[in-house]
Symmetry: C2
Subunit: 669 residues, 2 copies
Amino acid sequence: MSLESKQIATIRTLAADVVQKANSGHPGAPMGMAAMAHVLWGEVMKYSPKNPDWMGKDRFVLSNGHSCALQYLMMYLTGYDSVGMDDLKKFRVCRSRTPGHPERHATKGIEVSTGPLGQGISNAVGLAIAESHMAATYNKPDFKVFNNFTYVLCGDGCMQEGVASEACSLAGHLKLGKLIVLYDDNNITIDGDTDLSFTEDVGKRFEAYGWQVLEVKDANHDTEAIKAAIVLAKQETEKPTIIKCKTVIGFGSSKEGTHGVHGAPLGEDDIAQVKEKFGFDSKQKFFVPEEVLSAYRGKIDEGKKMVAEYEKMYSKYEAKYAKEAAEIKRRFAQKLPEGWEDVLPTYKPGDKALATRSLSGKVLNALANIMPELVGGSADLTPSNKTALGCTVDYQSTSPQGRYIRFGVREHGMGAIGNGLHAYGGIVPFTATFLTFIEYMFPAVRLAALSGHKHIFIMTHDSLGIGEDGPTHQPIEQVNIVRATPNVLMFRPADGNETSGAYKVAMEQEDTPSVLALSRQNLPQLAGTSIEGVSKGAYTIVEEKDPDAILIATGSEVALCVEAAKLLEGKFSIVSMPCAKLFDEQPIEYRRKVLPFKTPIIAVEMAAASGWYKYANHAIVMRTFGVSGKGSHCMDYFGFTPKKIAGSIKEWLGNAGKEMKSHGFAVAA
Amino acid sequence: MSLESKQIATIRTLAADVVQKANSGHPGAPMGMAAMAHVLWGEVMKYSPKNPDWMGKDRFVLSNGHSCALQYLMMYLTGYDSVGMDDLKKFRVCRSRTPGHPERHATKGIEVSTGPLGQGISNAVGLAIAESHMAATYNKPDFKVFNNFTYVLCGDGCMQEGVASEACSLAGHLKLGKLIVLYDDNNITIDGDTDLSFTEDVGKRFEAYGWQVLEVKDANHDTEAIKAAIVLAKQETEKPTIIKCKTVIGFGSSKEGTHGVHGAPLGEDDIAQVKEKFGFDSKQKFFVPEEVLSAYRGKIDEGKKMVAEYEKMYSKYEAKYAKEAAEIKRRFAQKLPEGWEDVLPTYKPGDKALATRSLSGKVLNALANIMPELVGGSADLTPSNKTALGCTVDYQSTSPQGRYIRFGVREHGMGAIGNGLHAYGGIVPFTATFLTFIEYMFPAVRLAALSGHKHIFIMTHDSLGIGEDGPTHQPIEQVNIVRATPNVLMFRPADGNETSGAYKVAMEQEDTPSVLALSRQNLPQLAGTSIEGVSKGAYTIVEEKDPDAILIATGSEVALCVEAAKLLEGKFSIVSMPCAKLFDEQPIEYRRKVLPFKTPIIAVEMAAASGWYKYANHAIVMRTFGVSGKGSHCMDYFGFTPKKIAGSIKEWLGNAGKEMKSHGFAVAA
Ligand SMILES: [Ca+2]
Ligand SMILES: [Ca+2]
């Protein structure tokens, strides 16, 4: 058996063993893609196992994340510190470094977390955009500081997901010539043969997107054909490439080519038969022939040498282009530029009333002027989202130095691409659509939170206040899902100061995304609001001693509460709560000061009630979907005018509130 | 001017007037699509304005819902009772019958609510599946009871959305020959020219999906070419057809062909100029030439005649095939078959522990046996979701009578197709995936709720309990978004009786969707649970007099609480809350009885806290994402074992709970 054949056989048997030991996982895809993986890690990819953070590395994405046993074992074979043999034996064990799907935060060397299908390939579009943008921004005729390919492995599932369709269509438009996808075309999914539901001509579809489409007829064995296809892919600089690699799922198993090998261990007998078939000892587990390990471990020195050469080049670059080099360093360290807070606008009461979406546009532009790392755009709602940047041009194939991305009507693709931009390093992505349509992209928001991507989601048109577009466009439940998701900050600023404050906190994060919910309608600049207040999550903007009740509100409802309080007899303190999660992180003394026991607390928000009862005894909220009509009419119809809010507060304090009062008013916050 | 030209000019000027009067809306698309609309309503479509509920009608979907002024004015011109001239003048006025996007519940004659892009065309795939399925089920050689086309108008936005890609790929696979899409190919979106982001070859992409692709070069004028294309579309019975209709957005406006006419009224001057150009009086508003109105109103009699002929045919069918006719009648009336409740399984304590996903599979199959209207499937997770049906075969082009749909890995398309199945009438759709991935399809869940589609979302693998697949697959925030959304029931049953109870309530709905969150792991059959209990939303399953605290839980955590209570000193009542929304609808006396004031209440759920503080003073919940590991290990790590829950309860009652107690324990519920 040739060394190469032995290497590929080792990948297959090791994958089977890893999944068997875990007694859980997916052996079929790793065994089917073994030759592809061998070509990538063994020959094609530029990487250094001992320098997983190397800026110059090729980026790799395992879009069919369920096949991660493959990635872990390649990392082990090639000598990554993060995956030893012990880690392979702890595959899918609680809190191991080899979880059931690749997690960027769990395993050094994983670029993006995958598993939810279609996300990885879409992240890869972001990684490829990032490379071309950074190259256009920083490379010099004599220095290719940024010059890498992005490789993707994916399966039938990713090909069927809409998010991948969106991202790949955009990738073709943007002519991302350094994006190379190897598609594990094995005609099997969980339900069975792809004939059941997936008979489209994938190659033709990708040609329609503007991709180069290549095919490898026997990717189980034919490593030469895989390599040759990758050579062609690299040569084509104007188009991304997809290589349809025909494989047999679970290659070697007695159940190969069926969905029986997709999602469950093969069983000891089958594994023994696989090992025999490949000329290995059927009884030995986790066996890696010495010559196989030694061949792959050669990557350690090879990688170190590559890094050393790169660093030599880079120090010359640093000497000649000190400013650029310093900026790159700052960006990759996620440091903000000196004095960045100074550009945040502040407002006084009496300053012009403006929509928070417009105020957002001002902050975003102020920051973009001094932060070249701000790169992003809108899903075809630029004029509405107010995200146009004055300081740059569109990112297009003819202007890759541009920082404004026209995502088209592709919210989900946009979100996943944004995550990829951040994963590359050096970029703070922002993406925009209407708040209601955050639901089109929520799986990407969730992955930003889970993987720790600093990603600013600019969501305008945040309530009934949007008016005529009606209930299909008026958010109700959207802020609740963001607030319920771990590691993401949900901001709903009330005016200019709070909009600046929201951006300030968002920019200070390193591995936490932020969502900004912004009004379409104009809002007054309030007394008492501040950038500092936002950082505490909630703070008192109107303070009364021994108030009859405390009103908590967010966004446009804060001003409504200020007016409502004026219409009421009695004393009402007002708390603005732009970010509940930040408030939860404050010391208990602060929280009790803002929301004391024994005072009735009433929340007001034009959204579903969900989380409010943690802070309030009563919530004036939306209980149904909205209606189409002028924003002010809709708000009136649902009771969100100062007068109606005042009436509702008075009524509650006199009835249900009275009953509750007799039992105390303990809030959970 | 020919009558036809005058008709088309009337559509254009009327659209401009409607949007101008509203001072809000989208004139560009209606003006561009005027000739297409004229051909559809004036010549091609089979419909009866006075019988909008006619089962035999062609189905029409305006997928680019923002152009609804067009649909409303065509309904006015052809004589629908739901849209009079007054309604056109109340376009986008609060609570009018002509909202800013088409709403199925607001305007009789609208098949599906659209606006969120990509949904309508995907609903249409469901409508076309429904037609072919009903035809295969009920038509007889001599009777074509079901025999209609589904027509769609859509724009560039729908073509870019991933949900449409998913649905259209499946439509090609299923060879839906009676689905005809007219694509308003005008090269303009909100951000500007489609060159900015959308340069793929749409026709080629649809060919790759297996569609027939036709083109009309001048769809501004060439009605003959539009008609000819539709004739070809009808002739092609093995493929859905997309007709690329080249138009100029805002045709007639001085700003025609630009994004300036997309989303804002043209202004009085421009409208005057349009009217002059078309030979109309520039000063007259909402003008409809008599001959134009009279020509379109001819559709009233034409439609009545069609319905009369259909009814004649149908009564013969009824006479000959009484059983089928009765079943059709029952199905379209959304009545359940006699004695349907009797098939719901019940369980006793001591019966075998089973996962609620498996229990769901049993109920679903029991119901499917007697309810031919149950039609649905899974997004490639059939073996995991336990949704396979024993009583039928797959729905495929070769077996359209089949009721099990293989959706492929296309969650979002699946959700939107399910809504279309319900919109057709006579079908109760069910769709399935992992609970985490409800986020991939949530815009469709929301539209089911908004539009009133009875649609059963079967979401398995509902917590940390799924284990090794890890945090990308473990739900945290998912139940919260469903609970926060109006008009959708979120069920998380604890065992077999509650699973049956959840299905019972779900089946009793007519215009409310239901989401079922189901466990992967086995759960014991509990004492005290019942079908009846589920219908109250929450109920006491372990009752103690003057308990030290009440524990509320859902799903798998109910059994954990029962065990935890046994480990604690003191008395603990236990409430199972399978559906919070149903509980909220109970009389206050019932709610106070289950959750009385002054007793500490502690909620336990392996999900985000969000809504719990409405019912509880303390919540033992998830504050972070999960981890990959055996389900039992993950649950232990995060404190969800009886012992750890008991410890946590004891700790809280002794500390924070004590402090709160001194202030009372008022819950908002
Ligand atoms: Ca596959
Ligand atoms: Ca368009």
